[in-house]
Structures are given as structure tokens and as C-alpha cells.
């Protein structure tokens, strides 16, 4: 069974911890290098959003990142107790085709996530956000 559970706190420095664990998982199961880059990126974008915008209190929270590979499909599940937020509803609109002068500096994270993954589902359940992403390896 190829799976890995990463539990982190809602502090941005946990990114190093996350990328280290992802690397180990890829190495252990000899998964393709490109998907490691893409998974790092996708997890960073989502984790960063949760940490920066998800909480209104100063308390410590835990974010769960579960990875599992079934046949040639990678499934990433990210679960948190932050405010309800469905990142899949966010649209980038015509931002990408604007001339550089009019182009906004930010707002790319979710677009990258949606493009790099093959399938995504969002669920709000018992006060938790559960985002499941699928990627064909």
C-alpha cells in the first residue's frame, strides 16, 4: 500500500517539513519526478491559502495531508478545520490573456492547482474542509 499521512500545524514554516516528507514518499516508491514537483506546488498553494486566510483566531490548528497511490493514480486529500472555503469555485477569468501592464500580480495559486490536477472534489463536512485531488501518474 503506497500511502503517507502528513500532519502539520497552521504555520508557514511547516512547508519545509511537507516538502521533505513528499520527497521521501517519492523516493520510497520510485514515483515519477515531474509529479513530485507538481505535487509540491499544489500542496504549497493550498496549504498557504489555509494558513494565511483560513483562520480568524490565533490558536494552533492541524492540517492533514494524505497521499495515496492506487494503480497509476495519485490521490491527495487535504483536510482542515478552517473557515468554509471551496478553492475550486475560484476562477481566474481573463487574467491570463491580459497584457502585462494590466495583469494582476497575484491570484495564480488556485489556477495552477486546477490545471495541474486531473480531477478535484470539495466537501464541507462537520465543520471541516475536505479537498480531494486526483492526478494520473
Amino acid at each position: 500500500m503506497k500511502n503517507c499521512q502528513i500532519q502539520v500545524k497552521n504555520v508557514i514554516t511547516e512547508l519545509e517539513n511537507i516538502s521533505g516528507k513528499l520527497e521521501n514518499f517519492w523516493e520510497t516508491h520510485s514515483l515519477p519526478a515531474r509529479s513530485l514537483f507538481e505535487t509540491n506546488l499544489v500542496v504549497e498553494e493550498l496549504f498557504t491559502n489555509i494558513v494565511f486566510y483560513g483562520y480568524t483566531d490565533q490558536a494552533e490548528h492541524h492540517i492533514m495531508i494524505d497521499l495515496c497511490v492506487v494503480d497509476s493514480e495519485l490521490i491527495i486529500k487535504i483536510e482542515d478545520d478552517a473557515i468554509a472555503f471551496n478553492p475550486l469555485e475560484k476562477e481566474v477569468g481573463d487574467e491570463l490573456v491580459k497584457p502585462v501592464e494590466d495583469r494582476q500580480i497575484g491570484g495564480l495559486g488556485i489556477h495552477l492547482v486546477k490545471t495541474l490536477m486531473d480531477k478535484a472534489e470539495y466537501l464541507r463536512k462537520d465543520g471541516r474542509n475536505i479537498l480531494t485531488l486526483h492526478k494520473n501518474l
Partner: protein, 110 residues
């Protein structure tokens, strides 16, 4: 992330090595702002040893491009690996930047 700088005539080459992410993009951004404020307006960012970038890093590149443009300067990027090139394409960035395969080619933009 490691940064290094080298001046070639009027062009300042900044080389980035390692990972550029949410934990360190501000370090790069503030260095670039400092250089531009000091009057450097012809920049090459050498990404040959840049292994990873997230949207935080993309922000720095776009911000710097705009800032250099305001100074009537120019900027080029070189040595993007295939993963980073893909991210540039998805972000719609490929048409904004002067992209070169290596530093020598990047110099031809100036």
C-alpha cells in the same frame, strides 16, 4: 534558496539556486527592489540552478518585470528547467518575459 550577483557591463545578473517558495520569496523581492532602487534597470535572472518555484515566486518575477518597465529598463530570464517552464506556460507568463536558454543568449536581449 541562494542568491548571487554579477555585473556584466550595464547588465546585472542575479542567479537563484534551490527553492523559491512562500517561505523565502520576500528575500528575493527585497533584494531586487533594492537593486532597482540603486539604479540597476537591466536585469538577467539566471534560473539554471532554480529547482522549484511556486506562485509566490511567480509574483516576484511579474512584480520585478513591471518595476523594471517603469524605469524604462529591461529584464530577461534564462535557464528555466522543464517543470518551471510548464508553470510559466500555465500562468500565461511566457509571452511577458524575454526567455533565454542560457546567460549568453539572455545577454542578446540588451
Amino acid at each position: 534558496m541562494k542568491l548571487s550577483e554579477q555585473k556584466h557591463g550595464q547588465v546585472m545578473v542575479i542567479s537563484i539556486a534551490g527553492r523559491l517558495d512562500t517561505t523565502n520569496f520576500q528575500e528575493l523581492e527585497s533584494r531586487l527592489v533594492q537593486l532597482i532602487d540603486q539604479g540597476e534597470k537591466f536585469l538577467v535572472i539566471n534560473c539554471e540552478n532554480l529547482e522549484y518555484i511556486s506562485s509566490s515566486g511567480l509574483r516576484v518575477f511579474l512584480f520585478t518585470l513591471k518595476k523594471v518597465g517603469q524605469q524604462k529598463g529591461k529584464m530577461a530570464l534564462c535557464g528555466l528547467n522543464s517543470n518551471i517552464s510548464e508553470i510559466f506556460t500555465i500562468a500565461g507568463f511566457s509571452s511577458y518575459f524575454n526567455l533565454a536558454k542560457d546567460e549568453a543568449e539572455a545577454m542578446t536581449f540588451f
